[in-house]
């Protein structure tokens, strides 16, 4: 019964977001950019057609690719690995249990009163940020609407993806506050009104800085030996770890704060 309710809520949310996305429409006017760096920041020169429906930033295509890969991977694990779980775990089982257990522990420690949904949210967010940041290392190519081949960037280096992530985290915190404490919960969440902006731009800034440095390094042929390995490790692997941890920890902390039961 509880599962059915959750599935219905999830489907409703997906449908609502799709409808809103279609209704919202594209911006009427695009900025003109001249420099390569500005294109890396704004993603408004190279657009990719999304199933012929709309021209979107490469970051959105990257995000969808990451989601698809993650869901296929999760489905394979669900079918092939999880049924073979044993009381004495193997290496892969330990890895999966540690992954789930780490976010679950973080949720329980940060929000002792209400943490079931929080565990799921920070697990999904952490996995998404980590995987999508590593995604740019593979350099998958896509064809733009102008017929140019571009390497798909990390989704969160697109400001739209970062804003989506920051706003979703904030909305999730507000939702938790409302469910737990009603009006008081909304008050507590609104008190942190700068949170969506700080979360969004922290992600965007961190990922973008990595992207810009990488672009600069790749721009010059002299710097394209050995150095990309170090730059790749520094700005991709470390960002993947740090940004996953920062966003999930902040979400868990604020969620725990707004869902704390009223005193007295």
């Amino acid at each position: 019964m509880k599962n059915k309710k959750g599935i219905l809520l999830w489907l409703f949310l997906v449908a609502l977001l799709l409808v809103l996305a279609l209704l919202c429409g594209a911006p009427s006017e695009e900025e003109s950019v001249q420099e390569a760096m500005r294109d890396a920041v704004l993603h408004d020169v190279n657009s990719i057609s999304l199933f012929g429906i709309k021209e979107v930033n490469p970051g959105l295509v990257s995000a969808m690719c990451v989601s698809l890969v993650l869901l296929i991977g999760a489905a394979l694990i669900r079918i092939l690995v999880i049924p073979r779980f044993s009381l004495v775990p193997g290496k892969l089982q330990i890895l999966l249990e540690e992954l789930v257990g780490m976010f679950d522990r973080m949720a329980r420690e940060s929000s002792p009163h209400r943490n079931r949904a929080l565990g799921l949210y920070i697990f999904a967010a952490g996995t998404y940020i980590f995987s999508s940041t590593l995604f740019e290392l593979f350099g998958f190519q896509a064809i733009t609407t102008e017929g140019v081949s571009v390497a798909l960037p990390a989704p969160l280096s697109d400001v739209n993806a970062a804003i989506a992530m920051g706003c979703m985290s904030y909305l999730f915190i507000v939702f938790g506050g409302v469910v737990q404490n009603g009006i008081t919960g909304i008050g507590r969440a609104l008190k942190e009104f700068s949170l969506p902006i700080s979360m969004s731009f922290r992600l965007f800034g961190a990922l973008l800085s990595g992207l810009l440095v990488t672009e600069l390094v790749y721009f010059y042929i002299q710097l394209s030996f050995v150095l990309p390995v170090i730059v790749g490790v520094m700005f991709t692997l470390l960002h993947a770890l740090i940004q996953s941890y920062v966003l999930t920890m902040l979400t868990a902390l604020y969620y725990g704060e707004v869902t704390e039961p009223k005193k007295g």
Binding site: I7, W10, L13, V14, L17, L18, L20, A21, L22, C24, G25, A26, P27, S28, E29, E30, E31, V41, L42, H43, L50, K54, V56, N57, L60, A63, M64, S67, L70, L71, A74, A75, I77, R78, I82, F85, L87, L96, E97, L99, V100, G101, G119, L120, Y121, F123, A124, A125, T127, Y128, P155, D158, V159, N160, A161, I163, A164, M165, C167, M168
Partner: protein
């Protein structure tokens, strides 16, 4: 509408939708099954732990009971031992007293018998002496030795007189 940084609300919502699908999929395919398994395993080990604790507690109770029983048994044994020693000592005392009485009785009987034997022997010897004297007297008489008889009679008479005077 010209929004700075090329922010596109439609793409933001598409990103949100993408993440919502991913979160739902990850929940059903990965998070929930793994968490369920971990909870089941934790419950299994918790049950094992509870059972072990319960058994240890029961064993402790049994041990305490047995120790109490052993203590009681030891006390009872000590008590019975003391009683047995006391009874034995009493019995020994009684037996010694009986033995002494019996010994006294035997000694008394032996003395009485010895006296009787002594008296009988004395009587028998006196009788034998009398018979010997009578026989000797008869022999002397048979020989008609008057002188001797006179001498004897005189001597007896004299002794009788001495005895009367003394």
């Amino acid at each position: 509408m010209n929004i700075p940084l090329n922010i596109d609300w439609q793409q933001i919502l598409l990103h949100m939708m993408n993440f919502a699908i991913l979160a739902g999929g990850l929940y059903f395919l990965l998070y929930k099954p793994v968490k369920d398994f971990m909870e089941k395993r934790a419950a299994y080990y918790q049950e094992l732990s509870d059972t072990a604790k319960k058994r240890i507690s029961e064993a402790d109770e049994l041990k305490a009971q047995y120790e109490e029983q052993i203590t009681k048994a030891r006390e009872e044994i000590e008590k019975e031992k003391a009683e047995a020693i006391k009874e034995n000592e009493e019995l020994a005392r009684q037996q010694i007293a009986d033995a002494k009485k019996q010994a006294e009785r035997i000694i008394a009987a032996a003395r009485a018998e010895a006296e009787r034997d002594n008296e009988k022997a004395l009587h028998d010897s006196q009788e034998a002496m009398k018979e010997l004297v009578a026989a000797a007297t008869e022999k002397l008489l048979m020989k008609n030795d008057n002188a001797a008889i006179d001498m004897f009679l005189n001597s007896v008479e004299r002794r009788g007189k001495d005895a009367e005077q003394g």
